[in-house]
Symmetry: C2
Subunit: 232 residues, 2 copies
């Protein structure tokens, strides 16, 4: 094949949409992968499917598993998502929206899929700057994951694939992510950032993720197409 | 608490049963974890539940996810499990029963569960000697996984847990695993090794796993209680 295959993790949020747009622009044959893991905001998966279609990826697959069996996070269990005044500073430290080992689980399923596809490249939209302090978004974590991955799978151990985890957003601010996605034609009206959206997908405007997004659009000097018409 | 908590991966096979027996003997408060991942031989899960009860673990949880969406293995898709004369040597190289990134996925879910439980210890029954050459059963893989895990999760990064992956069988022969399990009272009649059992759980006697098991019992000088009454 001419194009190099890649697996791109797609959550339905703006970061993963921008990441896949970057992978496509870099010429990869991108196979999008989403997860139905019992997240509260299932509308994410509909958005992910729309984004995949708009971006023109080679394929889009959803893997079902149930992280609610494990618990321990506001995103999958009954812990309340914290809300704050939208103008208040975003909190420091790791918040209750942290999902135990989430990126490790996601990357592991992506690794299995990559091996099956013969794809050496995995794209994930982690960001170490403007994110909420999650440990599995840091460069040292990604480097350790990549090293482990190349010892884990048959195709790597036998020398046919050298797995590389691409994190094009890792050093960007939210402003730069929004600007980069906008330049590459990402339709941000389809993307969902909110940790606790209404059933119709309207963002709460008060969780950490909504506030980071609002700040990113503001600093980028762009209007957020998903917030037109005001909050719910 | 007095006892240290551990997560123990339990497949329903003799190796994971022996591993959990070792963890219990070492004094850990063992929380067993099994996976319903679309494996062909679902009877494994019934056996895992029986083994967990007989061993007296603190709890037993099953996480559901669907690896069939990924494919690429004789254990989860339509690829035929290879059969050979039981007396023939076990093949070299990585066989089609390899499941892409299986232990990486299993350990990642175990890591999430461990963080939720506040358990620093994860027990997995991998074996680098008499196994079928799977890359994710080797010590260098386990060491890389452990290193990654300690960068991945909040409880480790914030210094409250130092994750340790225990692999008590990694340097044992199948003979030694059987002997060790027998000494610790593992009821091997409940354990299932076969990659392609009959619906009632009767082993085929011809797959790599059946042949390794038979050789292990023979070399240990023990009768296999699961093979009494002959093959199906």
């Amino acid at each position: 094949m001419n194009k190099q295959r890649a697996v791109g993790l797609l959550s339905g949020g703006p970061d993963s949409a921008a990441t896949l747009a970057i992978a496509l622009r870099e010429g990869y044959d991108v196979h999008a992968l989403s997860f139905d893991y019992g997240q509260r905001h299932r509308i994410e998966l509909n958005r992910a499917a729309q984004i995949a279609r708009l971006l023109g990826v080679a394929s889009h697959k959803v893997i079902v598993f149930d992280l609610r069996a494990i618990g321990g996070s506001a995103l999958t269990s009954d812990i309340a998502v914290p809300k704050a005044d939208p103008a208040a500073p975003v909190g420091v430290g790791i918040p209750v929206t942290y999902v135990p080992a989430r990126n490790t689980i996601f990357l592991s399923l992506a690794l299995a899929y990559a091996e099956t596809l013969g794809a050496a490249h995995i794209f994930i939209g982690v960001n170490a700057l403007d994110y909420s302090g999650y440990p599995d978004c840091r460069p040292e974590y990604i480097a350790a994951y990549e090293r482990m991955a190349n010892l884990a799978i048959k195709e790597a151990v036998e020398g046919r694939l050298a797995i590389r985890i691409h994190t094009p957003l890792i050093g960007m601010t939210k402003k730069e992510i929004i600007q980069s996605g906008a330049r590459l034609g990402v339709d941000f009206s389809m993307t969902l950032s909110c940790y606790d959206p209404a059933p119709n997908g309207a963002p709460c405007g008060q969780c950490d993720s909504c506030r980071l997004r609002a700040r990113g659009f503001e600093e980028a000097g762009l209007n957020d197409p998903a917030s037109q018409g005001g909050s719910r």
